[in-house]
């Protein structure tokens, strides 16, 4: 779940991360008033949940309230990445001496959160890591223990920062990491973290993403920030296909079978099981396949749910076949998914033997599931065939039928 910058800053303010003075404005007149209150030059930032704001003209500077009003009118009318601004963030323009980067995210390989720090802020951190790796430092930490200052201090020090700057930056980086843990964030990033002419530091821009599943846990904080439970807060609005997938998932409480993301390929995917979806999606692409969708099945969905998901995927224009692939399941029954998928194909008016390119779900109740697949002539395999090989076979079949 994404936060607008002004919300992200309010969240960081709770952890006493220093911020520029400012506020939000919804009209040019509000902007003028705010600029007047702030006094001096201001920066106006479009509040959209997408990147490329600066390049699109969504960030502008104004030296006077009148200029701020004029620029605000232009920004408020500017669509960026298909989004109109929620409002404007109006802040005092900072006299910046130097820019740093501080971020916290998860390192999936290390299975730990990682703090990333750079003395080259203001530009894309991936680019810095690629072009100037000596200017990027990282340290992992455990979520089981309180985030300790010394980790942040060692990290900042490793790039040669010393003296008062080291002390100030250590505090900010530690607070950012604590906010990351406290609010179940998946990304907390300050870029740039500006050092002003007077030597102090402020978070000039920041980006925060919260784990979707944690929204309930932080309902009180989100309410204070004015974030409604109904706002999906994704990078783009859900497509009709995705909304229909959510409806499938809402049919009953059993399992998950409707979280779909739409893509433009021809191979429908009924995939899942503990991270298997990502692996399988990658495997399909590695073998030259074009997925029509991403999805997640798990927790033993009902036959009806699996059938409706299958029907939804088959209803997508351009989908020629579906591949039913999972890793090894223990809490999802193979026979129940087999029933659902076969039923969905039949109810869509197709022959399961033709439409299901491959069914590879090893695990609980697989023998019962394989009996169903045999009856309907569906190609299936057990754990003796790797996910990659099954993906390859599905891609091959799909290509052969085009």
């Amino acid at each position: 779940m994404r936060f607008y910058e002004f919300e992200a800053k309010k969240l960081l303010a709770r952890h006493r991360v220093p911020l520029p003075g400012g506020g939000t404005a919804e009209t040019p007149a509000d902007t003028r008033r705010l600029a007047q209150e702030l006094g001096g030059p201001v920066v106006l930032k479009s509040q959209v949940l997408t990147g490329g704001r600066m390049k699109a003209g969504g960030v502008r500077f104004a030296d006077s309230p009148r200029e701020a009003e004029r620029e605000a009118a232009a920004i408020l009318a500017l669509e960026i990445g298909g989004q109109m601004p929620r409002c404007l963030l109006v802040e005092s323009k900072a006299a910046v001496r130097r820019e740093y980067y501080a971020g916290v995210t998860y390192d999936a390989l290390a299975k730990l959160p990682v703090i990333i720090f750079s003395d080259m802020g203001g530009i894309d951190i991936e680019e810095v890591a690629r072009e100037h790796p000596e200017h990027v430092a990282k340290v992992h930490f455990s979520t089981l223990l309180p985030v300790s200052d010394y980790k942040a201090k060692e990290l900042v020090r490793s790039l040669g920062v010393g003296g008062g700057e080291l002390t100030a930056l250590t505090t900010i980086v530690t607070r950012l990491a604590r906010a990351f843990v406290e609010y179940d964030l998946t990304l907390a990033e300050i870029n740039p973290l500006g050092q002003l002419e007077d030597g102090s530091f402020v978070a000039l821009d920041c980006h925060i993403d919260m784990e979707d599943e944690a929204r309930e846990r932080h309902a009180a904080v989100l309410e204070k920030l004015g974030i409604s439970k109904d706002e999906p807060r994704q990078a783009r609005p859900p497509t009709d296909f995705e909304l229909r997938g959510a409806q499938v998932d809402a049919v009953d409480h059993r399992g998950v079978a409707g979280r779909v993301v739409e893509f433009d390929g021809d191979l429908g995917l009924v995939i899942g099981a503990g991270g298997g979806s990502l692996t399988i999606f990658d495997a399909i692409r590695k073998h030259g396949g074009r997925p029509a969708n991403y999805c997640e099945i798990g927790g033993n969905p009902s036959v009806r749910k699996a059938a409706e998901l299958t029907k939804l995927i088959l209803s997508k224009p351009g989908v020629d076949k579906i591949a039913v692939l999972m890793n090894v399941v223990s809490n999802t029954r193979v026979d129940i998914v087999a029933r659902g998928v076969v039923k969905g194909v039949v109810e869509s008016g197709f022959d399961p033997a033709e439409k299901i390119a491959i069914f590879r779900i090893p695990g609980a109740w697989e023998e019962e599931g394989f009996k169903i697949l045999r009856k309907y002539g569906v190609e299936y395999c057990d754990r003796g065939v790797s996910m990659s090989e099954a993906a390859r076979r599905a891609v091959e079949k799909t290509k052969a039928s085009v």
């Binding site: 036959v303 009806r304 029954r333 129940i336 029933r339 076969v342 019962e368 009996k371 169903i372």
Partner: protein
């Protein structure tokens, strides 16, 4: 009848209100319901949800409930005695 599962209910069992209530209670996927007259009926749209737990078979007297796997040459779950 489902595509994969058919549940046969002995009419004598279906007519007993106490058994009807028990069957409706034990089935985790609501294949049985108690009708207005107190008897049991099978809900056809739920038959394919059967998880083969056999709770209905155990709850009913011998030969009272039979769960037929239509995909497995008609093999069934049934209590004979």
């Amino acid at each position: 009848m489902g595509m994969f599962i058919r549940v046969d209910l002995d009419p004598k069992v279906a007519a007993q209100a106490d058994l009807a209530k028990k069957l409706a209670e034990v089935c985790p996927v609501n294949i049985f319901e108690q009708s207005a007259d107190g008897g049991a009926r099978v809900v056809p749209e739920n038959e394919d949800e059967c998880v083969l737990c056999e709770l209905c078979v155990q709850a009913a007297p011998p030969r009272g409930v039979r769960v037929v796997k239509l995909y497995d040459e008609g093999s069934s779950l049934e209590r004979l005695e």
